[in-house]
């Protein structure tokens, strides 16, 4: 029952036309990717600008990395041979834990980033991979995904067109841990990490915690413990300990702050332990 006030449904065929129509419709116009967030949460919208005919789908890979069209449904990303081989298939592994197959056939990658739900499983993983996003507002610009969230309410008519992942590092591994009451349910807390380690020493680390219940963010103090250290169970235990002490968590209806604090420690330890096992597997 989300859409009570819709007066216009527009189907532009190009990026430029979509942008022009959205701009003409102003604040009460909205782009429609999969449409999930709109149908569920946006009763104020008057004009819909459906992106179905704008060519924004497809997943491509070249020496610059991987490009995922913003209109690609999650299922297409999950099934993509390119992403199944990217860093041990971290993105499809995560997507298997997101909602249901029915919803993954509707919801798009771009839509989930713009919705920026704090419990999102997609966002922590993409942040851990140093993803960038391309925005179009007459011309295209690419910004780090992390920079999207502070400005997302001020995007105006800009349209998110593409997600970019950098080339996978040679000695890298990534992992994702979700805590939810069921697999279908949204996360009470989730942890994504991506680690580069050569000859047992960690040279780069990304540890991201989501559903705190605030929006996912990197945990810089935890990353500091890892970088330059031997990537060992001892270091992992130290990182998990620092995570429990420094990652800010709060209570909401899904979990208490105390419980989340425990989850942070367990989640970071499990995620890093899995990344370490994957690195060992990769180097054999």
């Amino acid at each position: 029952m989300g859409l009570l006030h819709i007066e216009e449904y527009l189907r532009p065929a190009s990026l430029e036309e979509a942008f022009r129509l959205k701009r003409a419709g102003g604040e009460r116009a909205a782009y429609v990717g999969g449409g999930v967030s709109l149908v569920l949460f946006a009763p104020e919208v008057k004009t819909l600008v459906d992106l179905s005919r704008v060519p924004l789908d497809g997943i491509h890979s070249d020496k610059g990395g991987v490009r995922i069209g913003a209109s690609a449904p999650m299922r297409e990303v999950l099934d993509s041979p390119i992403l199944q081989t990217y860093l041990g298939g971290i993105v499809p592994r995560m997507l298997r834990e997101v909602a249901s197959p029915l919803l993954r056939n509707v919801a798009t990658v771009g839509g989930t980033l713009v919705a920026a739900n704090p419990w999102s499983d997609v966002i922590p993983v993409l942040l851990s991979l140093d993803a960038e996003v391309t925005l179009f507002d007459g011309k295209s610009r690419t910004i780090p995904l992390a920079n999207l969230f502070p400005v997302r309410h001020h995007l105006g008519d800009a349209l998110l067109t593409e997600v970019r992942l950098p080339p996978a590092p040679a000695h890298g591994a990534a992992s994702f841990v979700k805590f939810g009451r069921t697999r279908f349910d949204v996360a009470m807390l989730n942890v994504a990490c991506a680690v580069t380690a050569e000859k047992g020493r960690c040279s780069k680390a990304r540890v991201v915690v989501g559903g705190r219940p605030d929006l996912a963010a990197r945990a810089p103090k935890v990353e500091e413990v890892l970088v330059g250290a031997e990537f060992s169970p001892k270091t992992i235990a130290a990182a998990a300990d620092v995570a429990a002490k420094t990652v800010e968590v709060r209570e909401d209806r899904r979990a208490s702050a105390e419980y989340r604090k425990e989850l942070v420690e367990v989640g970071v330890r499990r995620a890093l332990t899995e990344a370490r096992a994957r690195l060992a597997e990769g180097s054999r």
């Binding site: 819709i6 459906d50 197959p101 029915l102 919803l103 056939n105 509707v106 279908f184």
Partner: protein, 156 residues
């Protein structure tokens, strides 16, 4: 606004309000095998195939179906002959009140079209967006396994 689509194999054209969901249009046009449950994408009772993929029709704007192919539960049977998934659900007693059944059959049709020989876990995952409050899902999982066998050997 006008929506042209292929519905259950036939070219059809419907009038819809710009904010209508596909579920609302289908039920108004008397495709009432498509059930409205939660209206929020949780229960899966409204599942239809959109270009061969099962979706929650309560979350799909009607306009997004324009130019595409939609299959509802009414379109799965071949005339009087039920689809093997429907036969398997009947034969194995995978139906109680029946409200979730159309959506679950549609989700199974998507699964088996892409994974003709799924494991039990893949079946459970495939119907994980379809809630059934009568059963414990055991018979539905068995029915999908059985349907997979029937579909791999259609004349056996």
């Amino acid at each position: 606004m006008k929506i042209d689509l292929t519905l259950n194999g036939e070219k059809r054209s419907f009038e819809a309000a710009p904010g209508d969901t596909l579920l609302e249009v289908l039920r108004r046009e008397r495709f009432v095998g498509v059930k409205k449950g939660c209206g929020e994408g949780d229960c899966g009772a409204c599942a239809v195939l959109l270009d061969g993929h099962a979706v929650n029709s309560c979350l799909v704007l009607a306009g997004k179906a324009d130019g595409r192919e939609v299959v509802t539960i009414e379109g799965l049977a071949d005339g009087e002959r039920l689809h093997p998934i429907q036969e398997a659900f009947l034969d194995l007693g995978a139906i109680q009140c029946g409200y979730c059944t159309p959506g679950m059959v549609i989700a199974a049709a998507d699964l088996l079209a892409h994974h003709p020989d799924p494991s039990e876990e893949e079946i459970r995952e495939g119907i994980s967006g379809n809630l059934c409050r009568c059963t414990g899902y055991v018979k539905q999982v068995e029915a999908v396994q059985d349907a997979a066998r029937r579909m791999r050997r259609p004349h056996g």
